[in-house]
Symmetry: C2
Subunit: 191 residues, 2 copies
Amino acid sequence: MNIGHYTFAEFRRLAEKFHGFAAPGILLGGRMVTAAMAALPEGTLFEALVETRSCLPDAVQLLTPCSVGNGRLHLVNHGKMALSLFDKYSGRGVRCFVDPSRLGPWPEIRAWFMKEKSKEQQDGALLEQEIEKAGNSFITLVGMIVDNSFLGKKSSGPVALCPCCGESYPRGHGDKCLLCQGETPFVMLPR
Amino acid sequence: MNIGHYTFAEFRRLAEKFHGFAAPGILLGGRMVTAAMAALPEGTLFEALVETRSCLPDAVQLLTPCSVGNGRLHLVNHGKMALSLFDKYSGRGVRCFVDPSRLGPWPEIRAWFMKEKSKEQQDGALLEQEIEKAGNSFITLVGMIVDNSFLGKKSSGPVALCPCCGESYPRGHGDKCLLCQGETPFVMLPR
């Protein structure tokens, strides 16, 4: 059972290259993205909404045209192994999630997913075998429609030069950029 | 002048494939990432902090081991064409930004960057030629150190099953998942 247009082994290598390693979350994510895409009407121009920042966003970026930088991958950090693909215009789509009630036949996936074992206690090879064998059997799909706030093109509006730092910023942010307004998650240093 | 390990033309094709099109922001971003990587001590295990959600995150994901899903790409949505790469352990690194004071020789880049022309008025081919020729000349680099909050491994803690929806969620979010607490950017529908 393929993951997107890839065999399991091919997707595993892609995941290693992009994500750094073939984490269980990205392999399960590959299954989820494949299932969700198959449930959309063919030819749908879709965007993605992912409910965790861990692993899943990379499965979406590897298998769909949606990326963080092109604005078609939306992140909501709820810590849930769930993602939706929805029609860019109507907002209607499908949500799929790892369904705990379906994990009975896959004890190693369940143990990983529910954090029942420490990393040392996990059997990585068995976990991967289970993911390969499980196909879509651990996934539940439901219909969904996103909030209107996710639809339509958003522009950040006109650009201005910040009078403090001299860099450009969206004028709508105020009379100086957010960095110079104090929202600074770093300190600049001489080099 | 290469972008990462790629020629300009190779990176352009990669950008098209991953981002959907070779947007000016991702091509400029490729220059920025390359300049920032060259400024880090060789062998630094680094993470990235990007100050806009547009384009730049994809340049980072294409050229570095940092991705959204592996937690090494941090996003701060300040609408600024700026990014930092910093040592994962010390938090020290370099920040680079498109410097408006350096755009004099590149009028088409400047017009695009400052939104001085509508999309229809832009000369896309000239813009791309300027980006190819400009090399790093439009970039200013400074030192930086990130907040401690960006350092160290964060765990989302133990997992529980939500008594409302039956899905898994980080127990630390409360007695039910954030979705069932009402933070729902979508409505579920029968399929």
